[in-house]
Amino acid sequence: MDKQLFQKSKKIEKITFIFDLLAIVTYIALFLILFNLLELPPVINGRMNLDILQFMTPTYEFLGSNLDKWQMNSIISILVIFMVVAVPMFVINVKKNNTRTIYEIDSYVATSKFVQAMINVLSFNFISTGLRIYNTFVLIKFVKGYNAKEFFKSIPGAIRAKIAKMKEKKVVIDEENLDSYSASLKKSIRRQTTVHVFRLFGTYLFLVTMALIIIIPFYWMVLTSLKDFTGATTNNPEFFIGISRWNWVNYKVVLTALNFGVYIKNTVIVAVFSTIGTIFTTVLAAYAFARIEFKGREVLFSILIMTMMIPGELYIITNFITVSRNGLGWVGMPTGQNQYFLAMIIPFVTSISYIFFLRQNFKQIPESLYKAARVDGCSDFKYLTRVMVPIASPTIFTITILNVFSSWNAYIWPRIITGVGGVEGQQYWLISNALRDTAFVQESGRVMYNLQIAASALVTVPLLIVFFAFRKYIMNGIGRSGTKG
C-alpha cells in the first residue's frame, strides 16, 4: 500500500476531469452552434410549410467546408452520442473519485481506467486519454508493483501461464471407488450447481425481457422523433436508421415554429415558483404540527388530512370561480389584464400530503434536541432553519423533486386556466397542454406524427434524466409517503 501513489492517481484523475469537462462544454457548444444553423422551411401566410421539410436539401457552410444535409445530421448525431456517453461518465467518475478509499483499488480499477481512456479516444478527447493511460500505469504500479516496462514484459508470461492452466487436465475421480456418502455428496453438489445455473439463467432472462419491454417504447419514441414524415408513417417502419438520417431539424421545428420553447419556459416558471412556495409552506406547517403546542392542533391536522380524501377534480370548478373574473380576477379579464401565471401557481403552493410526510419526519427528530436548542438560546425559527431543516433535508429534497414532477405533468388545471382568453391564453400553455392541443395537422390534412413524437420526447427526456439522477430520493419518497408519484 503506497499511499503516495494512491494520492498521485487521485490527483491525475482530478486533472483529467478538467479536460473531460472542457470536452463536454465543447460538445455542447458545437451542438448548439450547428443546431442553430439548421434551416427551417419557409413561412407562407404566417404558417410554416412543414410538408416540404423532408424534401429540403440545404447546404451549410461551417469552418470553411460545405456540408450537405446528411453530413450535418451525422455530425450532430455524433455530438449527441458523445454527450450521452460523456456526461453520465463524468458524473459517475467524479462521485467515485471522491468516495473511493485506498482499500478499494484493485486491478479492475486499473482496467476500467484503461477502458475509459479508449472511450476518450473515440470521443476525440486525446488529452484525457493520455492522462488516463498514464494513470492506468500509476495504478498498475500501485496494485502490482510493476513499472510500465516490467508490466509489458510480464504479459507474455501471464498469457502462457493462463494457457498452461487451461490445458491442464482435470483430475477425474473414479466415483466407483468412493463410499456411498461421498458419492451422494458429490451428486448433491452437482445437482445444486445445475439448479443454481438454471435459476441464474432464468432470472437474467426475465430481467432482460422486462428491461427490453420498458426500454423499447422509449427507444421507439426517440427513433420516430428523428425520422422524416415518410419514415414515421410508412407501413414498414425501420427499427434502426443510420445516423445520417437522424433529422435533428424536427426538434428545431418543434422548439421554434411550434412554440415549444415558450411552453417549456412557462412550465419551468410554474414548476419553480410552485415548488418554492410548496417547500416554504410545507416546512412551516409541518414544523407547527410537529413541534409547537397550540390549542386544536390535532383537530386542525385531522381536518387537513380529511381534505386529502376529496378528489382534486371536485374543487376544480370552485377554484376556477375563485381565480376568475367574479373572484380574484386573474383570468377571464379583457386581454392584457390576465395573470395566468398567478392563477396557475398560487393554488398549488401547498400540499397536504407533503405536510403530512414532512411532519412525520420532523416528529422523528428527538425532542431533546429541541430542549437542547432552547437551553442554547435558539429561537423556534432558528431551530427550524438551523437544526430541523438540515436534518430533514433528504425528505425536503424528495418533496422538491416530486413536486417538480407533478407540476411538469399537471394537465387539467393549466388546461382550464389557459383555455380562457383565446390566443392570449395559448401563450401560457404548459407543455402537457401544448402536447395535447398544438395543431400538428397541416393544411393538406397531414398529421405530422414525427413532430408530435419529437415534442413528447422533448417533454419526457428531462424527466427521465431527473429520475435517473435522483431515483434514490424519489423511490424513498414514494415508498414512505405512499402518496403521489
Binding site: 428527538p366 431533546s368 434536541l369 430542549k371 437542547a372 436548542a373 432552547r374 437551553v375 442554547d376 438560546g377 435558539c378 432558528k382 438551523r386 437544526v387 438540515p390 436534518i391 433535508s393
Partner: protein, 352 residues
C-alpha cells in the same frame, strides 16, 4: 452560586383531566460549587425537577432562586445554565466544533473569542483532536464529552446533568464519573446530577437528594445518608445487597426476634419495622444464635441466609469466621447499625 428551590411543585394534567403529582413541594438549598445528585427510582420526578431548574418545564407552584435572583419565570436561555441530556442531544448534521460553537453563536460572542473558547473547552474535556468529526463518528464516551463541552462553553452559572452516564458501558461509566468530578472541580461550578444509580450518585456527589413520588426523602452527604437513613425508603433504596427489613415487636424495651430478646431499645411497646444491613453483621460465638438456611461463598465474604421472624435475612460475614458444614452461627451487630422504623410513617425512630 447558590441554588435554592422553594416549595417547588409540578402537577401534570393529561387530556382527561387526570392529575399526576410529579414533584411535591420540594425545598432544597444547593450550596455554591457543590455537586448534588438527585437520586430516585424511575418516575420519581427527578428529571422533571431538573427541567424545572433549566426552565424547560414550568412549575405549577413554588419558586427557583439562583443566588438572590428569582428565575422562576425566566426563559431557559437567560438563566445561564448548561444542560447535558441522557442521549446527549448533539446536532447530528454539525461537526463537533460547530456543536460546541452553537450556543456561543446564539449569544453573539465575537468570532475569534468564540473559536478560542471552543478550543479551550474541547481541550478541557479531552476531545481536542476530534473537532472536525460528526457526532455519528464518535464513541459514546466522546459524544458525552462533547455534550459536556457544549454545556460548559457558555460559562453557565449552573450545570445540569440528566442521567448522562446511563448510555455508557460499565467501564466507561466509571471513567466518565471521575472525569465529570474532575471537570466540576476544575470549573468550580454548581452542578446538579440526576441519576437512578445509587452507586453512581454516592461516588460522585458531595451531597445527594433522594426523591420518591416527587417528595424529598432525605438530603445529606452520601455516607451520612447511608449510615443514618432518615426513613425506610432511603434505607431500602441505598445499599447493595439491599438492607434486610422485617417486622418485630418491642416488649419491655427489648427488641424481640424469633421469640428471644435481641437487644435493648428505648422505645414504647408495639410493632415496628427493623432494618439491618447485611454487611453490618459479625460472626461471633457469643452472639445471637441463628439456624443457617444456606451459605454462599463469594470470595472474600460469605453470604448466610437465615430467618428473623419468618423473613429471609441475608448477612455478609468474613469467610474466615464460618466453617464448612456449620449449621448454626452466632451473630452480633452494633446497636447504632440497627434501624427501627415507625410502621405508619416509615420514619426512623432510634437513629438520626
Amino acid at each position: 452560586m447558590e441554588l435554592r428551590l422553594e416549595n417547588l411543585t409540578k402537577i401534570f394534567t393529561n387530556k382527561n383531566g387526570q392529575e399526576t403529582l410529579a414533584v411535591d413541594a420540594l425545598d432544597i438549598t444547593i450550596e455554591s460549587g457543590t455537586l448534588v445528585a438527585l437520586l430516585g427510582p424511575s418516575g420519581c420526578g427527578k428529571s422533571t425537577t431538573l427541567f424545572m431548574i433549566a426552565g424547560l418545564v414550568k412549575p405549577t407552584a413554588g419558586k427557583i432562586f439562583f443566588g438572590e435572583d428569582d428565575v422562576t419565570k425566566l426563559a431557559p436561555e437567560k438563566r445561564g445554565i448548561g444542560l447535558v441530556f441522557q442521549n446527549y442531544a448533539l446536532y447530528p448534521h454539525m461537526t463537533v466544533f460547530k456543536n460546541i460553537l452553537f450556543p456561543l453563536e446564539n449569544m453573539d460572542v465575537p468570532r475569534d473569542e468564540a473559536f478560542e473558547r471552543v478550543k479551550d473547552m474541547a481541550n478541557l474535556v479531552g476531545i481536542g483532536e476530534l473537532l472536525d468529526r460528526k457526532p455519528s463518528q464518535l464513541s459514546g464516551g466522546q459524544q458525552q464529552r462533547v455534550a459536556i463541552a457544549r454545556a460548559l462553553v457558555k460559562k453557565p452559572r449552573v450545570l445540569l446533568l440528566d442521567e448522562p452516564l446511563s448510555n455508557l458501558d460499565a467501564r466507561l461509566r466509571l471513567q466518565m464519573r471521575e472525569e465529570i468530578k474532575r471537570i466540576q472541580r476544575e470549573t468550580g461550578i454548581t452542578t446538579v446530577f440526576v441519576t437512578h444509580d445509587q452507586e453512581e450518585a454516592m461516588s460522585i456527589s458531595d451531597k445527594m437528594v433522594v426523591l420518591d413520588f416527587g417528595k424529598e426523602q432525605q438530603y445529606d452527604a452520601p455516607q451520612d445518608m447511608y449510615n443514618q437513613p432518615g426513613n425506610l425508603f432511603v434505607a431500602k433504596f441505598l445499599g447493595n445487597p439491599p438492607i434486610n427489613s422485617f417486622e418485630a415487636n418491642v416488649k419491655n424495651k427489648q427488641l424481640i426476634i424469633n421469640g428471644k430478646e435481641f437487644m435493648k431499645v428505648n422505645l414504647p411497646d408495639g410493632e415496628y419495622f427493623v432494618g439491618m444491613r447485611p454487611e453490618n453483621f459479625r460472626a461471633k460465638s457469643d452472639g445471637f444464635i441463628v439456624d443457617i438456611k444456606e451459605i454462599f461463598h463469594i470470595g472474600r465474604d460469605t453470604m448466610i441466609h437465615f430467618d428473623f421472624n419468618n423473613t429471609n435475612i441475608r448477612a455478609l460475614v468474613d469467610s474466615d469466621s464460618i466453617e464448612e458444614g456449620q449449621n448454626k452461627v452466632g451473630l452480633t451487630i452494633k446497636p447504632d447499625r440497627v434501624y427501627i422504623f415507625d410502621k405508619e410513617t416509615g420514619k426512623v425512630l432510634n437513629n438520626g
